[in-house]
């Protein structure tokens, strides 16, 4: 009975692509993590309904981005057309040029690149050193210090932002990109993740290198860092994405428009444009999405695999 239903399902239109042609019957089903219901055929109506809802949800999640892109190509006069047009019909590429002209958009982009890249490099440096120390070196207080680092993961930014603001003003970093970069370097999450990575690397490799005359620094640099590349990539990607999109700290630390980062500059531009041509603002937003899109395409697998491997060893 059970075998029967699963065979009829394998021939179903929604079976895995190729399942019907290879003629792989019931065995395939047990590989899927899908609960079977022996004796009762699937309710076709429910199944299609769920599928429609799933696709509907995906459409809703992508709709703002598609709408933003299509509207960013409209001429100012037509930017508010209803019913909304989902496919670009106009191609007013001059909006993309205009956003550079009506605002300091080139500054925003440059600043955002500088800040995000500098934060990524700094985080990689501090977190890999600390992660290596926690994973490989023995010294008194190691456990306690590691516990303290982990505890700081839970501290929300609002609790520390007022004192950091004061500190930054006192040392003269107010209204500068350094104020965004340096405080973001120490990363508890990155330290934790890289420690997990270094722990998975066999100890024998370090011993072999030591016998060959390598010092601790060389072992770290030549043996451990190259082997932890996927972990470094995860830390870099997550840090880049977070700080590329960051709004709260730039809003507080920066005051001159030429220092603004992208999200801050765009929000400022939107307020400044009022109800004028939203297409220009949307063009700016679309540009700001491009690195994220690239990252998503290139790095999706990397991040998932990296996080999974990083979590393997405690």
């Amino acid at each position: 009975m059970a075998l029967n239903t699963s065979q009829s399902r394998a021939a179903d239109a929604w079976a895995e692509p190729g399942a019907a042609s290879t003629g792989a019957p019931s065995g395939r089903r047990t590989l899927r993590r899908r609960p079977g219901r022996p004796g009762k055929p699937d309710n076709r109506v429910t199944r299609y309904l769920v599928l429609v809802l799933l696709i509907g949800a995906a459409v809703l999640m992508l709709a703002p981005l598609v709408w933003a892109f299509s509207t960013s190509l409209r001429t100012p006069a037509q930017s508010f057309t209803l019913p909304p047009m989902w496919l670009p019909t106009d191609f007013a590429w001059e909006n993309y040029r205009q956003v550079f002209e009506v605002s300091r958009f080139a500054n925003y982009v440059t600043n955002n690149v500088v800040v995000s890249v500098a934060i990524v490099l700094g985080q990689l440096a501090t977190a890999s050193l600390a992660g290596y120390a926690f994973a490989r070196l023995r010294f008194p207080g190691r456990g306690v210090l590691f516990g303290l680092v982990l505890a700081t993961i839970m501290v929300p930014i609002q609790v520390t932002i007022v004192p950091i603001f004061i500190l930054i003003s006192e040392i003269g970093w107010a209204d500068s990109l350094v104020a965004l970069i340096v405080p973001a370097w120490p990363t508890a999450f990155g330290t934790f993740l890289l420690r997990q990575y270094f722990k998975t690397i066999p100890h024998e490799l370090a011993e072999a290198a030591a016998i060959d005359g390598a010092g601790e620094w060389q072992i770290f640099f030549r043996v451990y860092l190259p082997l932890a590349k996927p972990g470094l990539a995860v830390v870099a990607i997550l840090a880049f994405n977070f700080h590329w999109n960051e709004f709260f700290r730039p809003l507080i630390f920066l005051s001159s428009p030429e220092k603004f980062t992208l999200p801050l500059g765009l929000v400022n531009l939107q307020g400044y444009m009022g109800t004028g041509s939203i297409s220009v603002v949307l063009a700016g937003i679309v540009i700001s999405l491009l690195p994220v899109l690239a990252l998503f395409i290139i790095a999706q697998r990397f991040v998932v695999e990296g996080l999974m491997r990083g979590g393997l060893k405690g």
Binding site: P17, R33, L51, V59, P64, L82, P84, F165, E204
Partner: protein, 315 residues
């Protein structure tokens, strides 16, 4: 995989290395350990640990960075209790958190379970990617897009609701709907995160228990409530705790979409911290609010874990 997993006799050289590390090398390695930790721990001390303590201390002072700080004891806290405007932000944040977490958990659970149904693999990949993508975008920038879409007369949200026969809603300009619009924007942005956590939970559902439940005739709603939810309770707890903590700290969406308005109807606690500390330069008061927010988050997180004994089942 590694050739020397077996307890093979070690070479004299290895033994010499091991013996060596017991003495002088050990101290050198310890010093090296601290050296390696210095950039990271120094930074955490300066930019996280000391500021936490500093916030506590600062909350006992009146300071606007121009005149010297003045110690006022608990005055900031007594003022905070009587601050009706601030109370509104706490109530707003509470309503927002409940709305956002409930929506996120139920939608993400539906999506995660739904994706387990039979469908072509390319479609599954595509759907998963669509749910996760908003997470990677800037909450502030996308809030601009969403505020256009929620606009009363020319927004496309009202246009489509109109097709369903629903009167236009002043999403961002009515005290009744502003917070809801902000919550929808937040859920749109964060749903992918909750979804990923629950997807992990769904992937680890024990097949034998599900099969047994099937044999017992558990279907539909009963199956979800009595079988799936208990089995997934550990990942539901993680998703709800993290979702709760991040919703308590919402700022970008209300700041960009409504500026907290109309009136104070969508003003959140973090906006109150921002206004107090960075707009009015009342740094001590801002610090006091942030200390209270932190305490509330810690307390309610502890309560969530405590209550979880009742509904979370570990296999």
């Amino acid at each position: 995989m590694t050739p020397d997993l077996a307890p093979a006799p070690r070479s004299p050289l290895t033994r010499a290395f091991a013996a060596d590390s017991l003495h002088g090398v050990r101290r050198r390695r310890a010093a090296l350990g601290y050296l390696f930790l210095l950039p990271s721990l120094g930074g955490i001390a300066v930019f996280v640990a000391i500021p936490i303590v500093a916030s506590l201390v600062l909350s006992l002072f009146r300071w606007n960075m121009i005149r010297p700080p003045e110690f006022i004891g608990l005055d900031n806290y007594t003022r905070l209790i009587g601050d009706a405007r601030l109370l509104t932000t706490f109530v707003n944040t509470a309503v927002f958190v409940v709305l956002a977490v409930a929506l996120q958990l139920s939608l993400a659970l539906f999506l995660a379970l739904g994706l387990q149904r039979r469908m072509p693999n390319w479609l599954r990949t595509l759907l998963r990617a669509s749910y996760v993508f908003p997470l990677l975008t800037s909450a502030a920038s996308i809030s601009i897009v969403l505020s256009y879409m929620f606009s009363e007369s020319f927004g496309i949200v009202n246009y489509y609701l109109g097709l369903l026969g629903i009167e236009p809603i002043a999403w961002l300009n009515s005290s009744r709907w502003a917070l809801v619009a902000v919550a929808l924007a937040f859920v749109w942005h964060q749903l992918g995160f909750t979804f990923l956590i629950l997807l992990g939970g769904v992937a680890n559902l024990p097949q034998d228990v599900l099969d047994a439940a099937d044999l017992d005739g558990a279907r539909g709603w009963t199956r979800l409530r009595r079988v799936i939810v208990p089995l997934m309770s550990p990942s539901l707890l993680v998703a709800s705790v993290i979702g709760f903590i991040s919703a308590m700290q919402v700022f970008d969406q209300p700041f960009v979409m409504t500026q907290g308005g109309p009136g104070d109807s969508s003003r959140t606690v973090v906006m109150a911290i921002y206004d107090a500390a960075f707009r009015n330069l009342d740094l001590g008061y801002g610090a006091a609010i942030s200390v209270v927010l932190f305490a509330v988050i810690m307390l309610l997180t502890a309560v969530q874990f405590r209550l979880s004994n009742r509904w979370v089942h570990y296999q």
